[in-house]
Amino acid sequence: MAGRVITVTSGKGGVGKTTFSANVSAALAELGKKAVAVDTDVGLRNLDIVMGLENRIVFDLVDVVEGRCRLQKAIIRDKRIATLHMLPAAQTRDKSAVTPDAMEKICAELRSQFDFTIIDSPAGIEGGFQNAIAGADEVVIVTTPHVSAIRDADRVIGLLEAAEKQQIYLVINRLQAEMVRRGDMLDIPDIMDILAIELLGTIPEDESIVVTSNRGELASLHATSPAGQEYKNIARRLLGEEVPMRPMEEDRGLFKWLARLFKGQ
């Protein structure tokens, strides 16, 4: 089997890399693909918490790199979806415990065992980032409609182009349709104009993400979460399905829709 290794990165912290990695891995697994989410944020691991697998960690990425266990032993199987897996980062070490060479070897092994290897990258453009992209076939850039996040995304795209990564996709997270409509938030075309890479999807601001992440539940498995549905759509696009982009209007909700109808807009 020759699976796909996809790294999720952003430059800026807090834009939703980990939430994206967890939910898209879960959505791919739910669609029947064998998927593994890999946390490369050594020293600041979070993916296990968001996926609700924290209490099942025995071995981690650094144990594999340093030869204390085989890769197979460090990979955790999800309790909800049989085809979903996770490889946790070490919490008591730092980024220097892993090297790009070691990551390339691990990615090669994962590629032969999984349909999808989703690598959650740490914030920044230093060693941890270099580790995260070393074995990637494709890269997803997560950004938010904030000038600083877009600036960092642009910087990261430049570094990826220099590293000769050919497949780079953009995901715009935490879009607030209402603010965009008022002209208080950058619009999708504004962002695309600057970053000029393929758009994989846009994810609306969704309070339920906070709740599900805190509980270790996965929004993409909840039919009622707008963001969760969009993670699912992104997973389907990664599989080559033509899924239309989410129209802005959907975010306004039924009540607001009625209100607009009432006002004759």
């Binding site: 600036r151 960092d152 642009d154 910087r155 795209i157 430049g158 570094l159 104009d193 600057i194 000029a196």
Partner: protein, 224 residues
């Protein structure tokens, strides 16, 4: 055997050829040939400077030396004054007095066909043409003019260090900062969005001015 009259040595400025100038030239030529013959392939492709000190060197002598050197694939790059004790010693360099004239930078054009992204820097000695956008956080620098066939949203420094006649143009002109020669300008806060038509920045009366590019103005954009 007496002290060698010919010596090639590596210095911080490249290979240096030293001759005992008190000896007659024909003898020096013979010894140079012998010296090169010892390792005929070793020096192939090398460039050497000839140390002449302060004495005048006849062109015909230079030519004869160059002929011998070229037989072994060595190019006589120029002459230098005494570089005594310079081996593996840092500057100040005595600049070669005779070097092939450098290309005129005003005729050098560097073309960059891509999006120049945040954190990236493109520098050109002569003119710089960017076919693509210059994004916020990117820097483009040129010794003369800068042309952006796309959107200029980053910083552009033209005429570095002191060519006041340099201009900066872009199809969509929205730079974070502009510099031409020693002058610095940033767009006024009240104009966050450029009109999206080609514009041009140049120095006029000691300040950078930005104006719409108009057809048929031709040489008007020249300074003076």
């Amino acid at each position: 055997m007496s002290k060698p009259r010919v010596k090639l040595s590596g210095t911080d400025y490249g290979l240096l050829l030293r001759l005992e100038w008190d000896s007659p030239l024909p003898q020096l030529l013979v010894e140079l040939e012998e010296y090169l013959q010892q390792s005929p392939k070793f020096f192939a492709g090398a460039q050497v400077l000839l140390e002449v000190g302060s004495r005048p060197v006849l062109q015909q002598d230079m030519e004869q030396l160059a002929v011998v050197l070229s037989r072994y694939g060595v190019m006589l790059q120029g002459v230098a004054p005494i570089l005594d004790g310079l081996e593996r010693r840092p500057p100040p360099p005595s600049r070669p007095m005779f070097v092939p004239s450098p290309p005129d930078v005003q005729t050098l054009v560097h073309v960059e066909q891509r999006t120049v992204r945040s954190g990236e820097k493109v520098a050109a000695e002569g003119h710089l043409i960017v076919i693509g956008d210059v994004n916020p956080g990117a820097e483009v620098i040129a010794g003369y003019n800068i042309f952006v066939w796309g959107a200029l949203r980053g910083s552009a420094y033209a005429g570095v260090p002191d060519h006041e006649e340099a201009i900066i143009t872009a199809l969509h002109f929205a730079p974070i900062q502009l510099r031409i020669a020693g002058h610095i300008a940033r767009p006024p806060e009240a104009r966050p969005n450029a009109p999206g038509t080609p514009e041009l920045a140049r120095i006029d009366q000691n300040a950078i001015v930005v104006e719409a590019w108009e057809r048929g103005r031709g040489g008007f954009y020249k300074r003076g």
